[in-house]
């Protein structure tokens, strides 16, 4: 038997690691992976609350989060490829203009 709070602490830790990676990383692909880590932390708390309150809607929302993550990854990686094609760098410090 595992208390709900343990799951919430783990979920919060994963989210915090995602935020930290988003802030300190300089590679744009790693920043994207940090966003995925944040979404995973949120998913864990969704499933933990679904098990706690015995409401299955929490598990259904995990699927919607996954769909949004997949769409975001597809569009985001396409943007990264387009940025790399024009700038030839993946460092976000050197990508500071939306204009080409």
């Amino acid at each position: 038997m595992v208390p709900l709070s343990y799951y919430l602490v783990l979920s919060g830790f994963l989210f915090a690691c995602g935020v930290a990676g988003f802030l300190i990383k300089r590679n744009i692909i790693t920043i994207f992976m940090s966003i995925e880590l944040m979404l995973n932390g949120v998913n864990l708390s969704f499933v933990a609350f679904a098990a706690h309150w015995h409401v299955l809607a929490g598990q259904v929302f995990v699927f919607f989060v996954m769909v949004v993550a997949a769409a975001e990854a597809a569009v985001g990686l396409a943007i990264i490829i387009a940025v790399y094609r024009t700038r030839e760098t993946l460092n976000v410090d050197q990508v500071n203009l939306l204009k080409l």
Partner: protein, 174 residues
């Protein structure tokens, strides 16, 4: 210490180690592999919570599809080791004590004041049948809207990633 708690701690340790490794590694491919480890361990946590279908989809969609997309992009762009830039000293001076304080406070509040009801293994019928019933009856409209979202994402990715037909890519002059 029962088996459930031991399994939770084992999977949680893999999660924490992978998340910290994602922060520590400097090459994106190492970060991607540690993120895959985090996702696989999270699938184990979902199984402990009785969400077997979510666990299967987590492995197939997240660790399978999305991370393969990331690894393909890393290989396609030949991404190297990232350069570090120095952060401001004020952020380190105030950020780390603030982070520790906030973390301790949050952990204390969550561990002390949340209802620590036990979650039994297999307590919830998270099988594909029940999930499908819910998804196609109560959540039918969001489900259909996400299909439109996926279609728009596919078209956007194709438009963004395809080369412009005539003009070659311009370089930044300044």
């Amino acid at each position: 210490m029962n088996v459930h708690l031991i399994l939770f701690l084992a999977f949680g340790a893999v999660c924490v180690a992978g998340a910290v490794n994602l922060l520590a590694q400097r090459h994106p491919i190492n970060g991607a592999l540690s993120l895959i480890a985090v996702m696989a361990a999270l699938a184990g946590e979902y199984l402990l919570l009785g969400a077997e279908f979510v666990a299967a989809v987590q492995v197939i969609v997240y660790a399978g599809a999305i991370m393969v997309l990331f690894v393909f992009t890393i290989m396609l762009l030949n991404a190297g080791v990232e350069e570090r830039t120095k952060g401001s000293r004020v952020a380190i001076l105030f950020g780390i004590p603030g982070l520790l304080l906030g973390g301790i406070l949050l952990g204390w509040v969550v561990l002390r004041h949340s209802g620590t009801e036990a979650v039994a293994a297999g307590a919830l019928p998270g099988d594909p049948n029940t999930i499908g019933q819910l998804l196609f009856h109560e959540f039918l409209l969001p489900f259909e809207i996400t299909s439109v979202l996926i279609l728009i994402a596919i078209m956007g990715a194709v438009v963004l990633a395809s080369k412009p037909p005539s003009a070659p890519a311009r370089r930044v002059e300044d």
